[in-house]
């Protein structure tokens, strides 16, 4: 039992440290501004956030220890079984499920809800063991070449993208099935999609790691070209996700979000963790981002498409300025 206890202690420490990375949501624009603007009425949006976070939270705790190390430790068969049975309880979601079960018995929550949460948890638990191959398959199918392709793959490995995708799909379906919906609703949804992506624009280099950042410094490319490859991936995603309801407003918002996001992206290259919401910059940058993108998208949608020209100009100046800054870093 001493060995099992030692392993469980190590796993618990690793799980606890890993869960610190979920704190990124606290500085994520989407979470902050939906909580601020919608408050109690934002139930649907909070549900999306919760469901998206459930998957990475459901990962098998034993995965925190490299498989090679785990099989090298001198554990007998009985100890293995104990470890297998006890380790899932190091995941807080197991305790949430246990609490839900008790409430279901007392009829405080429905068995259907319990079943849904348990099902999603089980899926996340199993996928954490076999999911690597599935992700590789999806990543290989990402179109494009070189840096843009890499940057698209990075975007796809954040919860920000999947949150924006859920909103985009729901809005597109709504648009095609309800012809009476007001156009203002689609403008708002385009802004919401961009809000979901906006924190990623504040940490464009977060998933490149030390190796990637070294390679960037070694490539004979000007700073603005490296930044442009990042932005191109972001703009592609932004336009594709809003194409079904308001692509021009989406484009205007994306340009402004990037123009403002270059500052924290270049000055403070915060490392990010995959399958989490992006850690945003301090609130001030987020406020400017959201305020400016709302003006830009509203202007393009309600006044004139020509307002895209100043959006491009602002974006161009930011690209040049922060590209230069990258070379000096």
């Amino acid at each position: 039992m001493v060995r099992v206890r030692a392993v469980l202690k190590a796993v618990w420490r690793a799980v606890r440290r890993g869960q610190g990375s979920f704190a990124s949501i606290g500085t994520n624009n989407f979470f902050l501004f939906t909580a601020l603007l919608f408050q109690r009425d934002g139930g649907f949006l909070y549900l999306i956030i919760a469901l998206l976070m459930l998957f990475p939270l459901s990962a098998d705790p034993l995965r925190k220890i490299p498989r090679e190390r785990l099989v090298l430790w001198p554990l007998d068969r009985r100890e293995w079984w104990i470890l297998r049975v006890l380790s899932p309880w190091l995941n807080p979601i197991m305790w949430v499920l246990a609490a839900l079960t008790i409430w279901a018995v007392r009829h405080s929550v429905t068995w259907q809800l319990l079943g849904a949460v348990a099902g999603l948890f089980a899926l996340g638990f199993v996928l954490s063991d076999v999911g690597g191959g599935a992700w590789d398959g999806l990543a290989r199918r990402v179109p494009g070449r070189g840096l843009i392709k890499k940057n698209l793959r990075q975007m796809l490995s954040t919860l920000d993208f999947w949150c924006a995708l859920v909103l985009s799909i729901a809005t597109t379906i709504y648009r095609f099935f309800d012809r009476t919906a007001p156009p203002e609703a689609f403008l708002l949804m385009a802004l919401l999609v961009m809000l979901a992506l906006s924190s990623y624009a504040q940490c464009l280099f977060g998933l490149d790691g030390e190796g990637g950042l070294t390679r960037y410094r070694l490539l004979p490319l000007r700073g603005w070209r490296i930044l442009l490859a990042k932005d191109a991936a972001f703009l592609i995603v932004a336009v594709v996700l809003t194409v079904g309801f308001h692509p021009l407003a989406g484009l205007a918002a994306a340009l402004i979000v990037l123009a403002v996001g270059h500052d924290p992206s270049v000055k403070h290259m915060r490392p990010q963790v995959r399958w989490r919401f992006s850690t945003g910059a301090p609130l001030g940058n987020g406020v400017v981002q959201v305020f400016a993108m709302s003006i830009a998208a509203n202007g393009v949608a309600r006044t004139s498409v020509l307002l895209l020209i100043p959006c491009f100009a602002i974006y161009g100046i930011s690209l040049w300025w922060f590209g230069r800054r990258m070379e000096l870093e």
Binding site: R145, K149, K150, D208, G209, G211, G212, R215, L218, P220
Partner: protein
Amino acid sequence: MIACRDLTCKYGDFVAVDRLNLDVPAGAICAFLGPNGAGKSTTVKMLTGLVAPTSGSATVAGLDVVRDALEIKRRIGVLPENLGLFDDLTVEEHLDLTGSVYGLSRAETRSRSGQLLRVMHLEHGRQTFASRCSHGMRKKTSLAMALLTNPQVLFLDEPLEAIDPVTAKTITDLLVAIAKRGVTVFLTSHILAAVEQFATRIVLIRKGVVAWNSSVEEVPGSLEALYFDLVEAPATEDLTWLGSARS
């Protein structure tokens, strides 16, 4: 081809490299040797534009490392300490990216990549993402990227560590061959016996200061003996608990 004059790098109060003076002619294979933390990687970083020197100057291919950093990057190939790979690209995609950034045609990139993948024994893993590669595979990928662009100067930070013996022999033979064609190779390593076989110039560095700088022919006796004498002698402490009664 490489010239350093009083090249110095400080991190706060810590002097990583102290007034380094060095000349490496074209076609030389210069082995830059020293213990961990001696200043080898910092020197490579300064010469490749990754770190700005605190004082002094250096030129690579006749270009100033600070003023002409971008032009130098076009002419050199680098195997950096942390390999400089993107987790989200496969082995083959890294080579494609290098080819397009350095202006090689797609056909030329494909042709050179195919040869490099064969030489490095990387063909079976060409579609593997860097994040899923073994350390050896990652190192070979980074080395292939350094060679792909046919550079004038090669900077290789520990190129032979974690590489299988067959590929290591292939790499050393390749380095000797390209050096004969005028390519300058500047490498760091801990494998003294291997380096002694193919390097033409030996530089030993200790605590940021050059302790020895000569052609390989001028090294008295074995390189290992010189290294232990000038740089660092091996620890002699006996761990008596190892091999004693089990505890």
